[in-house]
Symmetry: C2
Subunit: 649 residues, 2 copies
Amino acid sequence: MIKITLPDGSIKECAKLSTPMDVAKSISEGFARNVISAKFNDTIVETSTELNQDGSLVLYTWNDDLGKKAFWHSSAHILAQAILYLYPNAKLTIGPAIEKGFYYDVDFGEESISDNDFKKIEDKMLEFARQKFEFKLRSVSKADALSYYKGRNNEFKVELIENLTDGDITFCDHADFTDLCRGGHIPNTGIVKAIKLMSIAGAYWRGDEKNKQLTRVYGISFPKQKNLKEYLELLEEAKKRDHRKLGKELELFAFSRKVGQGLPLWLPKGTALRERLENFLKKAQKKAGYEMVMTPHIGQKELYVTSGHYEKYGADSFQPIHTPKEDEEFLLKPMNCPHHCEIYNVKPYSYKDLPIRFAEFGTVYRYEQSGELHGLTRVRGFTQDDAHIFCTPDQVDQEFKNVIDLSLYVLKTLGFENYTAQVSVRDLDNPDKYIGTVENWEKAEQAIINAAEDKGLDYVIKSGEAAFYGPKLDFMIKDALGRNWQLGTIQVDYTLPERFELTYKGSDNQLHRPIMIHRAPFGSMERFIAILLEHTGGNFPLWLTPEQVILLPISEKYKNYTEKVLELLENHEIRGLIDDRNEKTGKKIRDAEVKKIPFMLIIGQQEEDGDVISVRRHGGEDLGKMTVEDFSSLIKNKINSTLQQYKFN
Amino acid sequence: MIKITLPDGSIKECAKLSTPMDVAKSISEGFARNVISAKFNDTIVETSTELNQDGSLVLYTWNDDLGKKAFWHSSAHILAQAILYLYPNAKLTIGPAIEKGFYYDVDFGEESISDNDFKKIEDKMLEFARQKFEFKLRSVSKADALSYYKGRNNEFKVELIENLTDGDITFCDHADFTDLCRGGHIPNTGIVKAIKLMSIAGAYWRGDEKNKQLTRVYGISFPKQKNLKEYLELLEEAKKRDHRKLGKELELFAFSRKVGQGLPLWLPKGTALRERLENFLKKAQKKAGYEMVMTPHIGQKELYVTSGHYEKYGADSFQPIHTPKEDEEFLLKPMNCPHHCEIYNVKPYSYKDLPIRFAEFGTVYRYEQSGELHGLTRVRGFTQDDAHIFCTPDQVDQEFKNVIDLSLYVLKTLGFENYTAQVSVRDLDNPDKYIGTVENWEKAEQAIINAAEDKGLDYVIKSGEAAFYGPKLDFMIKDALGRNWQLGTIQVDYTLPERFELTYKGSDNQLHRPIMIHRAPFGSMERFIAILLEHTGGNFPLWLTPEQVILLPISEKYKNYTEKVLELLENHEIRGLIDDRNEKTGKKIRDAEVKKIPFMLIIGQQEEDGDVISVRRHGGEDLGKMTVEDFSSLIKNKINSTLQQYKFN
């Protein structure tokens, strides 16, 4: 007998050579039907692997990330099987599971495939799947493995095998198909009920453009047809909400080839929206005792040598800026902290002055390869809603908690109700990745975990995800389409105060080092707005949206009255515009819907006579006639219900 | 007889060989007593020069810039005379008039002088001056000139003479002193009644650090003792108002050696002040139809090749930023116009959409040699209150006038009542300095002059002062100490729209080029704040000043009541702070005076009992007891009287 420890801590005594599936069945037949993958002693195994020692076992279903991974990895085998069936001369290379689905890189030789072939391949895959072939992993000697693929003229698999150690090589068989594989499969092909090939792309063998170009076939699969349908609908919705598309339609931002890739230009409506977001945070920050500062976008190289950034990132960053005379060297600032440290150093502080909280909407520049750039979510220049808190050791806990409060206020006001926290700590196996003493790292990590506990956050600890100068807490939000985004970061830092020799005079009249907290509730204004666009589909909260109302006079006759209404609204600080085009009202309403303007005010003879407006909501709801005053109150009440004042204790 | 035309257009018939002084006397003996210099047919002459042909004559008194120049130039001769008398081995080099006074660069050989010697030299100068020696200019042959200075072992003057053309060389004699000189003297030394040597500094011969180091002696002189006294008082006042000193005392900004020279760090109070200034302009700009945009602080080199900036300034600017991969080249942006052109190019416009007005508080970076840097007035990074107006040819005049209105609103609200305008046009002799067609330059220059005329501005035209891409109008303000500053610029530009291929569709359905107006009422936020600091001596307008009130509880007993008062004031959006130090009230008042806080609110038993405050103004005026409500009204009324709404027609 062997002792199998389950994730809940319970221990099962099983016969030696029991499989994970046997263990699952011993828990419950129903549960076992859903088990598709397993991990034994921290190694992914097959559900049919015979366990021959004591150990801890985790069983995965489709609902687990590792369950999906096995599902999609196995689906890649089915794709490869179908391709070889339909294109016998194709050579397979590698085919992993990815975040959403899987792909296989194939050398189709003289042949080529297109979207038009997808149906044929999908049908063949489903035909194979329905036959419930078992996935069977077996060891194979290096010589046999090489011989197998040499016999099939597959130089790619041969190259892969040559780099493997004899004794560690496994093949996976299902039906008459065999593939070089490390394992991690679902029990059989029958579990795959729905398959969709998504796209094809070019990919170089081993990602090197000097190598042969292969065809990458992307696909996704599900245990139920319904899952696929939902997924495709989600994709369709995501396409509609793509912030690059919405940003263009709503005239928020643009890019210019001449200015450069990854350097957004903010158009008037986007600039005004950003300013409203910034003012919202400024107001809360003022209550929370922050002071705004402004610093230049460059700094001498020496500044970043002092901070440690140059050594760490210098080679991968925008290169130094030289001067025509005096040959000085400056760097575009990749972060604001060194500048804020220098502001701290302008005057001496006593412990009574702390905490000091410097905030800045600081635009920073970080080099990214052009292929990595994506709309506003991956750019080369962005604005952090940055702040640095300088405090005594006694104040760290409270300050960290205050920052959590402020971050949650920001997330909730912007409609992100669904979030968890991620505490990123050192990778203990790679101490060289970090600067600062072990003692300070331990203190800082503990301070973050304590604050997360005290605030009752739902958090996970991620090893190795810390910044090089300190551990951090990030908020992970789930958007309206169920996608996860990392937002709002808080970091504790004992290192920069050392490097910049920051001090304060303690009650003991001696000089001490303050502790620094870095924080940015939005993270990056650019990225935040992109996520907000995709989360809301461009239907921003009323207080934030570019135009709150559009006035639609049904003919030119009502021009004067319409302008009077707009002026009254503007006196109430309501943002509106008039659609005075010579178009039918129906057309104007449809256009206003596209622009996602929350309220349409229709103005004709009855409205002018009654000194009222007819109010229609975005989406179609008719609120009837009302006075401008009543409408203004309605808007204000709606805003007050979402945009609540920040309460700072 | 010859015909002499005077500046008022009148013509005087004079005997041939009459001198400018003769002409002055023929006008009035009293006027002649004040004449100290003259210009004949655009050449500076002596007042004793014999005129032998018809021509136009300008006569200068101390009140004219060219009168002062002759006065100070002549004073340099007296300084040289005194130095040679006291230090016979000294070698004279050059000694010009400067903006305020004059200097002489002297090789004192083995000897050296210090401030302690100034009195002795000044006394000797005055002794010589009182003897009313006449300044007499005479021609001298190159051989004689060389021989004269070789005999005195003065290799400097010998070098100067060697570079002159025989026949063009003149000496000036007064008393027993002779100097190589081109002319432009006052009649005699007796006019100089007051002399003050100001400082000494090192200076290399011909400004080249490879040459010998000389001693530069700075001095100033006046026709009346009273003038000197006033000048020294002004200097003293200017020192007190030095923005670098006040900026530090008021904690507005700082510099850091590590961040880099000429790169200001804005401290919390300075940042808040800047933001109030920016909001003030934003509000007026919104009324005037501007839209805010935001653009990155870098752009691809190609952007500035297109604009022409790279060819013009590339070599003297911060050098290109390279990337670690892809080897792209970016430049720190030296101006915002190319970015705004690219924003214009995001979408097509019809003539009905124009004018389009894009505004941005855009931070730009321009390399200056470290020796040229000075506080906030000469920096390497600064923020322009920039905007670009894109309009049709028909709209240029009106738009230009609107910008003049806005600029005057800004200047007047900030207390600069004393200003003139300067229209900078091409240097017609140097057409290569400019880009764009002659036709467009002519149109643009005329548009500016028309607008200045229509608005009734007091303006002068300066040839050769235009930007390389277009003519401009600058406002020249006189500050409280009578010093002149250039502020607020408006430029018309036909060139960038060509280079960026900007278009709009006209009523003829054809594509046309818009015209661009560049404008910045403050110019640079940094420089403007520096000038405002020196103009106001740190006593900012009430709406702008960092803290409007300081609360001085006379003992800890009144802490609660004081905090209640502050909260009430904050509800009225009045900025205040509490001085709760354990100090005597007298000391607190003195400290508040240094901080230039406009109102001090003294709080003791009587105030708490009566639910009032005792109000004292900066400077000492006692406004007596009043309620917080009454005091708030007082503040609001004061603000409303200086900060009036911008009225845009």
